[in-house]
Amino acid sequence: MSSERKAVQKLVSGIPGFDFISEGGLPRSRTTLLTGSAGSGKTVFALQFLVAGIRQYRQHGVLVTFEEEPAELIANVASLGWDLEEMISANALAIVDASPVPGEVVVETGNFDLVALLARIEHAVRQVSAQRVILDSIGAIFAQFHSPHAVRRELQRIAVGLRQMGVTTLLTAERTDEYGAVSRFGVEEFIADNVVILRNQLEHEKRRRTVEILKYRGTTHQKGEYPFTIDSADGVTIVPLSAINLTQKSSEMRISSGNEQVDEMCSNGIFRDSIILVSGATGTGKTLMVTEFIKAAIADGKRALLFAFEESREQLHRNALSWGIDFADAEERGILKVVCCYPESMSLEDHLIHMKRYIAQHDPQRIAVDSLSALERVSSTRSFREFVLGVTSHIKAKETAGMFTNTTPALMGGESITETHISTITDSIILLRYVELQGEMRRGIAVLKMRGSCHDKDIREYVITSNGMEIKEKFHGINGILAGTPVFSLASERQQLDSMFKYDTRRQDRTRATDTP
């Protein structure tokens, strides 16, 4: 029983994603050190802890600032939609200003302590009955005094004082290297039982923000780095990718892919909550399949959401119209939402958050992404893999049907990163391939896999007409379509059997030869 009482409790932070990776939030009534290099988002992260507490849990907060002046700080975070002044006047927030007075010379004349600061913090905590306190950032206080030893000793006193007050504290500190000492001045060694590191690395000319919980004394947490973003709508959002659970339900309900013949190949349609990957080279009709997929939703009166990373809305509307599907009308009726954006316009983590936001807004029953591989070029392999995982798991958790397209780099055959990354996550894979036959480019379609159902194993020819995709007979007497090297053989059945027999006898000869060395 006593161990139960002593176990570290956690305080739900309210920062999206953080409570997941920390398995419940920040250790309650303890001090957590938040370190990171310049520009890693420490102040925003810490402030969000306060703001979320005030807004979501009615837990008041105290902000102790060592570096920025309060007025400056208030102005800086106004762009995130945080009105600190209003919180102060509502008695939900108090600021303790410990920033250096500009132009004032401080002379040290002997021993000192920081009891004044502690008294001020305590006063502020009592004033607003705060449960959350942040100190930002303690590196600045080392700059104000000559003796780091004295400052260290005093910070320890403050940490103890804060613990006695029962408040949950977040303390920010600078570090110089992304993968070096935890913090400057070695504060982590004596102040905090808990350390959270924010990183802002340059990876292939792209900035990538990550958060890692380094240690949580006496309690558990998820390990490793998790990407996060900072944007004006939500502030800090952590994307807990590798921590996604495979808990999605599945149903037996089948829906149409938008093309009857494709449905037939999938033995009567695709599952309602499955994700289909359509993979093919440029011009094989991937966008057409997406358009038909959306058309089926419109016909059923279901909401659909299309993320287009390659074409503009006007282009998509025009192309759909040429196949007899009116996207513009569907958009006006609010049944369809087309989101067009350049892959380069933001980082992948931002894309993910944007997509999630649109999904939440529109609540679609069908989602299409055209194309997923366009996003591949704006990121490193690692973040792309995480992004794909994030998108698919989010869609799967919503139990909606999803269709992703993937452009293969090679015209014939080929494999791409997208395929290798998500083929295990998707439920069905449809391959669209060029087939070169006697100086002619023909197209072939194959259902590579379909989870939980049988499907057509043939590679069939298809043509694109003004009515859309028309699937024809299977290719006869051709080998190596998927490999991108079709071999056309005119052999009759009889000849084939003969050659098989010959092959077998030869093989027998060979095995016999190896058996008797």
Partner: protein
């Protein structure tokens, strides 16, 4: 010239009493008759520390003559205190160093 000094302390701590002792002897020796001293206990009135942005204690603030000067610590470094309050000319500062 009139000196207005304010000393911020925290209760009965050792640093606080040393600072008071040091300051009293300094005033008696260097500023006889030309100073006004006020001692503020932060533990009794933390809001005053908030208003003046006091972080460390003891802190001695020279309010007059301008400019405002802040001296942090228990004032046991006599030369430092004299320099900080501009009671010794610049030359001696150099010699000291």
């Amino acid at each position: 010239m009139m000196y207005r000094l304010r000393l911020y302390i925290t209760g009965q701590s050792a640093y606080s009493s040393t600072a008071i002792k040091n300051l009293e002897s300094l005033c008696a020796n260097e500023l006889r008759g030309i100073y006004k001293l006020e001692v503020v206990d932060i533990l009794e009135n933390p809001q005053l520390a908030e208003d003046e942005k006091i972080v460390a204690t003891p802190t001695l603030v020279r309010l007059l003559p301008p400019p405002i000067r802040r001296l942090v610590g228990d004032l046991s470094d006599k030369t430092g205190v004299l320099l900080g309050l501009d009671l010794v000319p610049y030359k001696r500062e150099k010699n000291e160093e």
